[in-house]
């Protein structure tokens, strides 16, 4: 296994935590892992992104240029990363904040993560919804691994928090596994893409 992930969005969206979550999942399944945030603390509503590499072998470069999986949180992120997508890239887009489809290559899955989180009255969990989408869509890690990691990362917080997060996670998985829902979103979004491909 050699999974190169980029997660991109804006400060406050939980981009780095999502990266950490995936990294921990990798570790839990016995992989080598590196996690690299966007450099330093850009506090002023700027970009936020991170590279996560999960591999069976020693990892040399923790920086990912052409990801195997790309998780995009918002429009700016999509603009910024559209060129890092290759034919082999699998893209997960948060359609709640990406209205204008600019990623024209790669395989793609769409999920209105922010809307899902908002509907749970837990807007901060959009990243966990994205995590669920990642687990559901790629199948690279066991769902139970994800749940275990979540438990560890929320250690010390009350059980309510844990359950809410778990819910967000499974909502993400559920959404992505429901072909109808995904297709519903993806159909419209990908029309242009399909046209181009032809």
């Amino acid at each position: 296994m050699n999974e190169n992930i980029i997660i991109a969005g804006s400060g406050g969206q939980g981009v780095l935590t999502l990266g950490l979550f995936l990294a921990q999942a990798g570790l839990k399944e016995g992989k080598k892992v590196t996690w690299l945030p966007s450099y330093g603390a850009e506090k002023r509503g700027g970009f936020s992104f991170c590279s996560v590499v999960i591999s069976d072998e020693e990892i040399f470069s923790p920086l990912v240029a052409y990801p195997d999986t790309l998780l995009l949180f918002d429009q700016r992120a999509a603009e910024a990363y559209k060129n890092s997508v290759t034919e082999k890239t699998f893209v997960i887009e948060n359609t709640s904040l990406i209205k204008n489809d600019v990623v024209l290559t790669g395989r793609k899955t769409l999920i209105p993560a922010t809307d899902i989180a908002t509907s749970m009255d837990f807007v901060k969990a959009a990243n966990i919804v994205m995590a669920g989408a990642y687990f559901g869509a790629t199948g690279k890690f066991l769902q139970t691994t994800g749940e275990q990691v979540m438990g560890e990362m929320l250690k010390g917080r009350n059980s309510h928090a844990f359950e809410k997060n778990l819910k967000a996670f499974s909502e993400g998985m559920k959404f992505i596994k429901n072909p109808a829902l995904v297709a519903g979103v993806a159909f419209i979004k990908n029309l242009r893409l399909l046209k181009k491909k032809k």
Partner: protein, 247 residues
């Protein structure tokens, strides 16, 4: 119906949107400075010196000449500029980490020399840009990323009141502490900053305006709550008002 414009974006601001966090006082004060520059008609002779801190990008937002000093050194950069071109309007704009921590010697010596400058001091009780560490202005017991249990005055000392510290220096002509938490206080603040600029233009000398400011992001409070905290907690320790005024 005809429309009369009562408020519009000042010309001395560039088109670029502020990169500061929503509700941040930096934006408000940037805007006020631009308004004042417009009102005094000095855009073509104003030179700003930006600090290292969140406002390091100030040059992107003001449409007059701006340079950027090394961390803490803005007042001495401004001094050199003003000495060479005494007819220009020169000001430095600095955060509390910049001015009250690493730049302590620079601000005191500049004030003491009585340079005919304006200094705008944005006190938000922490190092905004680097992620909210404790500053010399952090309140007692305030939690920051480097005072996880709250500022312990026994080891870190009490917050420094810069305006009071500069008071005894004979070169200093005008000091006022203001805030910018609502329209009324913003109007007062504008008056103070304008006076500080006027002091320079009329050769009165060194003026220092301390603005009690928020930092919603690092305080982990929304802008409205942040301003409330400024009004209720910060302004209790840092008393608002005119501290020195010599004409």
């Amino acid at each position: 119906m005809k429309e009369k414009v009562l408020y519009k974006r000042p010309v001395a601001l560039s088109e670029k949107p502020f990169s500061y966090c929503p509700g941040c006082t930096h934006s408000t004060i940037h805007k006020l400075i631009a308004e004042i520059v417009d009102e005094l008609g000095i855009r073509e002779k104003t030179i700003g010196v930006a600090p290292v801190g969140c406002a390091v990008f100030a040059y992107d937002f003001w449409n007059f000449d701006v340079t950027e000093a090394a961390h803490g050194r803005a007042p001495v950069v401004a001094t050199a500029i003003k000495r060479i071109m005494p007819e220009k309007v020169v000001f430095s704009y600095q955060g509390d980490g910049d001015l009250a921590s690493i730049g302590m010697a620079e601000i005191i010596h500049t004030a003491n020399r009585g340079e005919n400058l304006t200094v705008i001091f944005i006190n938000n009780t922490n190092y905004g840009m680097t992620g909210g560490q404790m500053a010399p202005t952090t309140l007692a017991k305030q939690v920051t990323t480097t005072s996880p249990l709250g500022r312990d005055v026994k080891t870190s000392g009490y917050p420094i009141r810069m305006s009071e510290l500069l008071l005894p220096l004979q070169g200093v002509k005008y000091i006022e502490r203001v805030k910018a938490t609502d329209a009324i206080s913003i109007i007062r603040t504008k008056k103070a900053i304008k006076k500080a600029f006027m002091n320079q233009i009329t050769h009165v000398g060194f003026s220092f305006i301390e603005v009690l400011s928020n930092c919603p992001t690092n305080w982990k409070k929304d802008p409205v709550e942040s301003n409330k905290w400024v009004d209720e907690t910060m302004a209790e320790f840092f008393q608002i008002g005119k501290i020195k005024d010599i004409q």
